[in-house]
């Protein structure tokens, strides 16, 4: 009985170690970050936000503050202003003079995107969000309109 136990125990340890040993010689699945090459993420992945424009360059955002209201964490801050008809920022009468998202508050729920009537604010695939100062975690309108990787994603489901 004792001998049998010893034999079985050794075999189990050997099997387990085998798995370890096998992976020791395989390529790693983790990547270094900041990554050297982009990692594929799911299409519905919700990362860093950006603000979109129309083809003619006008901003989509109309400063309606619906995203601000929808945001469960109060991460968004907007100041709206009236467009100068001769030099509009967005189509129509109203635009966002200030648009800020505080990434330290954001939980990447995507509610802002859901709320937006003009599909202006979207969550992209950017996930390299580390920074050195708190202030740098607040994305300004400038940051949001000029994302580092301009790959505009509109989720097909809406």
């Amino acid at each position: 009985m004792a001998i049998k136990d010893v034999y079985q125990g050794t075999r189990a340890i050997g099997r387990a170690l085998g798995v370890t040993l096998k992976h020791l010689f395989e390529a790693p699945v983790t990547v270094e970050s900041p990554d050297r090459e982009p990692i594929a993420v799911y299409p519905r992945f919700r990362g860093r936000h950006y603000l979109r424009r129309y083809e003619n360059g006008l901003e989509r955002c109309i400063g309606c503050q619906l995203c601000e209201a929808a945001c469960p964490t109060g991460a968004i801050y907007i100041e709206a202003e009236e467009n100068d008809p001769d030099n509009p920022v967005s189509p129509g009468e109203r635009y966002a003079r200030v648009y800020e998202i505080n990434l330290l508050r954001c939980i990447f729920c995507g509610d802002c995107e859901e709320a937006c009537p003009t599909e202006a604010i979207v969550l992209g695939h950017g996930y390299t969000l580390a920074n050195y100062t708190r202030r740098d975690f607040v994305l300004t309108k400038e940051d949001l309109l000029n994302p580092p990787e301009p790959n505009v994603v509109i989720r097909p489901e809406g």
Binding site: C64, E68, A69, G74, E93
Partner: protein, 880 residues
């Protein structure tokens, strides 16, 4: 009265008791809590049944009929079917039709969140749209004035805006154009809205068709809440005129976003004027003072509070030691009771002087009795406006006045040097500035021919002598433009009146004729009844500043400084001696400064330099000038120390309006920069005032009394409420009025102890002056949109401010060969100004009209310290 009787109406089979003879919509909404949808019905407007939203079925002998509830009045036995299939379908269809051409603007619409169309569509609407067709397009972003934007697409044609302008302003400035689905609201071609209370149509528009151009897009109603990022709605009051209208300041992130009217039926009904609503630029203007300034080597430089306060204390203390009478203080009818109270207390106790006054204070010989109640205007059957341009000076009261005339059948008499706008509501009589007493005496001389007034006269001291004296004053020769006939008409009106009301402005009781005018008004009050003759002060806290004793001859509560017993009471309350010699008035202080008698002056919330070149020169002579204000005014530029104060919305404070109602103006946002509230600055100064050593006091304590404690010991206020508590203890009229007791609609202060007319006075009026080298009389005009810092800091008013011109009658211009549009030199004994001339038929012949507070203060320069009634000459160098 009718609201007291009740009737029984049946709604959907249930019987209810409701007030009789009110619109059914009101009965259902207000008394029964039934949420019937409406658009055109408004509690303060006549029903028209324009929108058809309130359809219900009413039982008739021929069966139930669809009817608009807002035009159906409650009667006994009324049977209403509200929740039936037919009625619901009718209301749903109406909403669906309203939405057929309504734009999908909600995300950018300022009404969103407080929009009856949104709300009622959710509650009563069809839920789904069946219309796919292109909507009709109309004018969007279409300014109907510099202050209001119209979006015709959003309009639901409820006529509320039209009706407001007709029923309250009596200015039909908006109308309906075109037919059917193309119908639009519009101004009459090229006639933008000019009504002074036009902004109220924004509040009552049930959609976002009318929006506020100053506040546009700076707020979202649906974000209201108590946090910095939400829209905080602070119930406050307006500080632009003495009516003290109730309003609400909406604040987000410590910035004022918009101002809307707040209902207070006793004060302002549902309305505020356009100055109160749109003039919000001053709160956060970049020119606001945000840090103390001190003068060094002739220049003002920023300083720390500690340094600035020390400089003030040292400067004032030095002069107070040498001669307290060489120190003066100027308060303001524009700042709170608390600040004014502390100002006079500081100067009376620390500096030991009674040289305390405010603009339109001691120089104005008005009894501060105040109006019994603002609503009295509706109960009056004859209303006399004396030297009061009601539309420009108290615009909301002007709407009440017009309703009193047009709806209640009151008769109006308008006495003014200029044919003012509201002259069309009654008999207009031109009265020259300074000639009011002549007119009043002529009037009274005729009135007392009636036995009723003779009897009234005899009831008061000096009545019989007065009647004899008055018999010399029946002559109309000195009253150009007044005929025996019109005079007889006015006398008839007043003789037949049951409750006459006389409202007079500040200029009547100021200047060379002040004494005679004030006496004549006293006498008139004795004839007509005490509370029938009412002073309407020019500032929001005109009465409060008087109540607080910011007057050279009165302690708080109108205790004369010469009154031994009164001073003794204050000695006990304040723990220090009170100076007993009456001080100098505002004008006298400036004159004393010019003569070198007054050395140090402390100015709070006032700008004497704007009182003309003479005043500015006087300020230059001062050895030490301190200014506490929100902007670097012309006075502040000359100061040795400038202390940055806050606006009324940055601290708690109370104001007393023209009906003696004490109202709260709570803090709405945190002070900007390093600015501090007026009251806090005064407390800080008092705490730094050198402690008076025992025995150093100029007055010896009486036997048996302990030496008064050093007055600083009592300056322990930490909040403005602490100051108000003391005011309630010290000022008898304010007894029992605590911050909490005031609530959001204020409380009347007591009228006891307020100076009132006692016994007839015989002051012979001086004849109107005539000097050949000065052929015209100068008329001082008050405009709502003057050039003061509180209004010109809002850019939208730029084109609406009083035009910087001298206005003359066209015939005068022709007779003297003067050309309108061209500059002219206007001279008076006090100064000379150059201004373009303008023809204005509302100006009487022989007069030149100029507005107060124009840039460069031309009117004030011409008047000099003399006040209204100055004669001038007008020459155009290149005219002939």
């Amino acid at each position: 009265m009718s609201e007291k009787q009740t009737v029984t109406v049946t709604i959907d089979g249930v019987q209810y008791e409701v007030p009789a003879n009110i619109p059914l919509t009101r009965a259902m909404r207000k008394f029964l809590g039934i949420d019937i949808p409406t658009f055109c019905a408004h509690p303060r407007l006549e029903p028209v049944g324009a929108c058809r939203q309130c359809l219900v079925e009413i039982e008739t002998p021929r069966g139930p009929r669809l009817t608009t509830a807002c035009t159906t009045y409650t009667t006994d036995g009324l049977v209403v079917l509200y929740n039936t299939e037919t009625a619901r379908a009718a209301r749903e269809a109406t909403l669906e039709f309203l939405l057929t051409n309504h734009p999908l603007d909600c995300p950018i619409c300022d009404k969103g969140g407080e929009c009856p169309l949104q709300d009622q569509t959710l509650r009563h609407g069809p839920g789904e749209s069946r219309f796919l067709e292109e909507k009709i397009h109309k004018n969007k972003r279409y300014p109907i004035s510099d202050l209001i934007m119209l979006d015709q697409e959003r309009c639901v044609l409820c006529w509320r805006c039209i009706r407001y302008l007709e029923e309250w302003e009596f200015k039909p400035q908006l109308g309906l154009y075109h037919r059917g689905g193309e119908t639009v609201i519009d101004i009459h071609p090229d006639h933008p809205l000019t009504a002074k209370t036009s902004g109220n149509i924004i509040d009552i528009c049930p959609v976002g068709a009318l929006t506020n151009r100053v506040a546009r897009f700076h707020f979202r109603p649906w974000t209201w809440g108590p946090y910095p990022r939400t829209l905080q709605q602070v119930p406050s009051i307006c500080i632009h005129c003495s009516q003290g209208c109730n309003l609400r300041i909406d604040v987000r992130t410590d910035r004022v976003r918009r101002i809307v009217a707040r209902e207070n039926m006793a004060v302002n009904d549902w309305w505020i004027c356009d100055k109160g609503r749109f003039a919000q630029g001053f709160f956060h203007h970049p020119d606001r003072l945000t840090q103390p300034l001190v003068r060094e080597n002739g220049e003002l430089r920023p300083a720390s509070w500690e340094e600035a306060l020390q400089r003030v204390v040292e400067g004032l203390h030095r002069w107070a030691q040498q001669d307290p009478e060489a120190v003066g203080a100027i308060g303001s009818g524009k700042v709170s009771n608390e600040a004014n109270y502390l100002l006079q207390k500081f100067f009376r106790l620390m500096v030991d002087t009674n040289n305390i006054d405010h603009r339109w204070g001691g120089d104005v010989l008005a009894d501060p009795t105040g109006m019994g109640a603002i609503e009295d205007i509706y109960r009056a059957d004859v209303i006399v406006l004396l030297g009061l341009d009601i539309a420009e000076e108290v615009p909301v009261l002007a709407t009440f006045f017009r309703r009193a005339v047009r709806r209640n059948g009151a008769r109006a008499v308008i006495l003014h040097p200029r044919r003012v706008e509201d002259a069309r509501f009654g008999v207009y009589l031109p009265v020259w500035p300074g000639g009011e007493a002549i007119w009043l005496n002529a009037l009274m001389a005729r009135l007392v021919r009636e036995e009723r007034f003779r009897a009234a006269a005899r009831r008061h001291a000096g009545g019989q002598a007065f009647l004899t004296w008055l018999s010399d004053y029946g002559d109309l020769d000195d009253l150009p433009g007044v005929t025996e006939e019109t005079m007889a008409h006015v006398v008839r009106l007043l003789a037949d009146a049951q409750s006459p009301l006389v409202l007079y402005g500040a200029d009547v009781v100021r200047g060379r004729a002040a004494e005679a005018n004030a006496a004549a008004l006293h006498n008139l009050a004795l004839l007509l009844g005490e509370d029938r003759v009412v002073y309407v002060g020019p500032d929001a806290n005109s009465l409060g500043a008087r109540d607080m004793g910011v007057l050279p001859a009165f302690l708080p509560g109108y205790v004369p400084v010469t009154d031994e017993a009164g001073r003794e009471r204050f000695r006990r309350l304040w723990g220090s001696e009170v100076p007993e010699e009456p001080g100098l008035t505002y004008t006298q202080m400036l004159q004393a400064a010019a003569d070198g008698q007054l050395k140090a002056l402390f100015v709070m919330g006032s700008d004497p330099a704007a009182d003309g070149a003479w005043a500015a020169r006087a300020l230059e002579k001062l050895a030490f000038l301190v200014v506490q204000d929100i902007f670097l005014t012309d006075t502040a530029r000359r100061a040795d120390v400038v202390l940055p104060a806050t606006t009324y919305a940055e601290t708690d404070g109370t104001f007393t309006n023209m009906e003696r109602r004490l109202q709260r103006a709570p803090q709405a946002f945190r002070p900007i920069g390093d600015a501090r509230p007026d009251w806090a600055i005064l407390v800080a100064l008092a705490q730094r005032w050198p402690v008076r050593e025992a025995g150093e006091s100029r007055r010896k304590p009486r036997k048996g009394q302990r030496a008064a404690r050093s007055p600083q010991a009592r300056w322990t206020y930490t909040t403005p409420q602490d100051v108000l508590t003391e005011i309630a203890r010290v000022v008898p009229q304010y007894a029992g009025l605590t911050w909490d007791a005031l609530g959001t609609s204020g409380r009347y202060t007591a009228g006891e102890g307020v100076p009132r007319p006692r016994g007839f006075q015989q002051v012979p009026p001086a004849a109107l002056p005539a000097e050949p080298e000065y052929p015209f009389t100068l008329v001082a005009d008050r405009f709502l949109y003057d050039h003061g810092t509180l209004i010109r800091t809002t850019d939208r008013f730029a084109r609406l401010l009083a035009p910087p011109v001298a206005r003359m009658h066209p015939e005068d211009l022709a007779r003297y060969g003067l050309k309108p549009g061209k500059e002219a030199v206007i001279t008076s004994p006090h100064g000379e100004v150059t201004l373009p001339l303008a023809a204005d038929p509302t100006v009487q012949q022989g007069t030149v009209a100029l507005a107060y507070s124009l840039p460069g203060a031309p009117l004030e320069t011409l008047m000099g310290p003399e006040g209204p009634g100055v004669l001038v000459n007008v020459v155009q160098p290149d005219a002939r």
